[in-house]
């Protein structure tokens, strides 16, 4: 792991404080686990393994149950992603408009390989996503929190240049 990717890992004190705050806000909700996991991931970028025990205890669940939920859902991540996450749609509508080529281009361009590939410097992660609901304007992708539709490899390059 390079120094950049190591820097994506949060410090234990920050993790503990964030988890405590989220639990305080959300543990009383009906079916609280997903809202809690969203809260932790939204703030930290991932759900650190060290938070699993605390969350389990607060909800009177086993660690296995919490771990099972985190790993079941594609949205939740147990490890940090790159600083900028590029999600490219792989579903049918985008496939019909060159979505697969776009995904391959993004991976190649940013040096992100594999299903949840991060670039070596931790600057980018390129991930597949299964439908962003922009199917009348395919192909679509998301860079960070910004949606982009009617994309092409050339347009993606422009978006990424602006990002850098």
């Amino acid at each position: 792991m390079s120094s950049t990717t190591a820097s994506l890992i949060k410090a234990p004190a920050e993790i503990a404080a964030t988890v405590a705050r989220v639990l305080d806000e959300r543990a009383q909700l009906d079916g609280a686990l997903l809202p809690i996991l969203h809260g932790v991931q939204d703030e930290l970028g991932y759900i650190p393994a060290s938070s699993v025990g605390t969350i389990a205890q607060a909800l009177n669940l086993s660690r296995a149950e919490v771990h099972g939920v985190i790993t079941y859902y594609h949205h939740f991540r147990g490890e940090p992603a790159g600083k900028c996450v590029v999600q490219v749609c792989r579903a049918e509508s985008c496939r019909a408009m060159g979505g697969e080529e776009l995904l391959a281009h993004a991976r190649q361009k940013l040096g992100c390989h594999g299903e949840h590939g991060m670039s070596d410097d931790g600057a980018f992660s390129v991930e597949p996503v299964y439908c962003l609901g922009l199917c009348a304007s395919s192909p679509a992708l998301m860079v960070g929190e910004k949606l982009h539709a009617r994309m092409s490899p050339a347009k993606l390059d422009k978006v990424l240049e602006a990002q850098a």
Partner: protein
């Protein structure tokens, strides 16, 4: 000179092609030119090839311009767009656009017209009339109206909504729930997203009507995590509706309580299956439950629960406000009312087309959609999401209604159409259907969990011509097992796209017509 109202949509699909930047640029440049404009962020009309579609209010009605980019703004100002001036991007009066004018918009009547979060806008355009009518009725009269309207579940399963509402109403329990399934995971669909982002009070109104009819006091909307804007808009709308007395402990002073909460899903396709969704709402892995018991009796936290799709609830206010007969007048046979069809994939004029059931694929894809975006011939249209059938040209004239589609082994589903041009490889798409099932299977039942992985392998062998004839037999056998032996539609319907691709496009699998005759 009075302030000119300029509308720039805030729908995700408009934002994804630069609507925010266009809105900012219009405001800044008009102000710099001394033009007095008010930029209103409306919902989208659903004519997505024209987004960002800017509308200007004039004496002649709203004049549209689109698709507008930031670079177009100076020229638009020069052309006097704030008074409806002529420009290459000018579309004329928006209401007169053929794509819109020919539609029968009941659910999407306000789409593109209103500011999504404005309560006055909603009310002026017919909002809350259904809820007010419902509050003057007995609960059994409400579900009877839904039953009489013939409204069927718009999520895909097409189960009569009135029967669900009645079952929950007649169940005895201290706590009942109303849950909205907004886990719109089907590729080619975006109608739920448009409702929540663009007309959230309509969903709130529909769910409140369902709560009053069934005796539920608490509701949840389960929205996919891929729709962050929808979650944000709905949360805001719930706060506004609550403050204004449309939600809360005493809905419009009726003495009835209904509290509503928006919940974010976490990227699991199978959570669009109603029992997996309940598990997820309860904070568990989204694993499918065996039925019976049905959720109407044993649902969320074990209590009687009404579960419907966004579009089903969204139809309720119209039915209550205008009567069951009004709604039932639309459609054919047992498919009553309208369906917001979603034109997607390789299509020139992609967007939302709400029409009564009975329209054909050919009309939708060519008359509305204008054919493919690439200009090539259409090869196949997948209707009803990733678990839907690929329809070849010979089936494009079948009326889109639940029964007519079922007759040919197809599904209308949630109304999504994904168009593929002649370059599409249907064997590759069939393989993807199995791959997607393997990726998304909850793992509870064997045919889905293991069958999908074996399916990918078998299709790979067919494509590679490794014992092709035998592998085709094996694939059909596997599909039969998945269809008959899976717990839910994930494994049970993945064979639909696979078999339709194999049956209608055998050449894509390397099967010649001679092979077929031999088989």
């Amino acid at each position: 000179m009075s302030t000119v109202k300029v509308y720039v949509p805030r729908d995700s699909a408009a934002l994804a092609v630069g609507a925010d930047e266009v809105a900012d640029s219009i405001l800044a440049q008009c102000t710099a030119c001394g033009l007095d404009v008010q930029v209103i962020r409306n919902s989208s009309r659903g004519l997505f090839w024209l987004e960002p579609m800017v509308e200007v209010e004039t004496a002649q009605g709203r004049i549209g311009y689109g698709p507008v980019s930031v670079e177009d703004v100076p020229k638009l100002i020069e052309a006097g767009f704030t008074t409806g001036g002529a420009h290459a991007l000018c579309l004329g009066p928006v209401e007169e656009l053929a794509y819109l004018k020919k539609q029968q918009r009941l659910t999407f009547a306000r789409a593109g017209i209103t500011d999504p979060l404005s309560l006055p806008d909603y009310e002026v355009h017919g909002g809350w009339a259904g809820l007010r009518a419902a509050l003057a009725m007995q609960p059994d009269e409400i579900w009877q109206a839904i039953l009489d309207s013939g409204l069927r579940g718009r999520g895909g399963a097409a189960f009569p909504a009135g029967i669900k509402w009645r079952t929950v109403a007649q169940a005895q329990a201290k706590q009942k729930y109303v849950v909205c399934n907004a886990d719109e995971g089907d590729s080619g669909t975006f109608a739920d997203r448009m409702v929540i982002e663009g007309d959230p009070y309509m969903l709130i109104e529909g769910m409140t009507i369902a709560a009053i009819a069934s005796g539920a006091t608490k509701g949840f909307v389960y929205i996919r995590s891929e729709y962050p804007l929808a979650v944000q808009v709905l949360k805001e709308a719930i706060v506004h509706a609550r403050v204004a007395g449309f939600l809360g402990q005493n809905v419009l002073g009726s003495g009835r309580a209904f509290e509503l909460e928006a919940r974010m899903a976490a990227g699991s396709y199978v959570c669009g299956e109603e029992t997996a969704m309940l598990e997820s709402l309860e904070g568990k892995r989204g694993v499918v439950r065996a039925k019976p018991p049905v959720p109407a009796l044993v649902g969320l936290f074990g209590q009687p629960t009404v579960i419907n799709n966004v579009l089903t609830y969204a139809a309720a206010p119209t039915i209550l406000a205008k009567g069951a007969a009004f709604y039932k007048n639309y459609g054919v046979g047992r498919s009553t009312g309208t369906l917001p069809f979603q034109l997607a994939g390789n299509i020139k004029n992609g967007g939302l087309v709400e029409l009564a059931f009975g329209v054909t694929l050919r009309e939708l894809v060519f008359e509305y959609g204008g054919g493919t975006a690439t200009g090539r011939a259409v090869k196949a249209v997948q209707v009803g999401g990733p678990l839907g059938t690929y329809l070849p040209e010979s089936q494009w004239d079948i009326p889109l209604d639940y029964e007519a589609y079922a007759k040919v082994g197809a599904v209308v589903g949630h109304g999504g159409l994904v168009v593929h041009d002649e370059t599409a490889d249907l064997a590759g798409l069939a393989r993807y259907a199995m791959e997607f099932c393997a990726f998304e299977s909850c793992g509870k039942c064997t045919p889905c969990r293991i069958g999908s992985t074996r399916g990918v392998e078998v299709i790979d062998k067919i494509i590679a011509n490794h014992q092709r004839a035998q592998q085709v037999i094996l694939l059909r056998d596997l599909c039969d097992t998945m269809m008959g032996g899976s717990l839910c539609a994930m494994g049970g319907m993945t064979p639909y796209p696979v078999l339709s691709a194999l049956n209608h496009f055998p050449q894509d699998f390397g099967i010649s017509s001679d092979d077929r005759a031999a088989a």
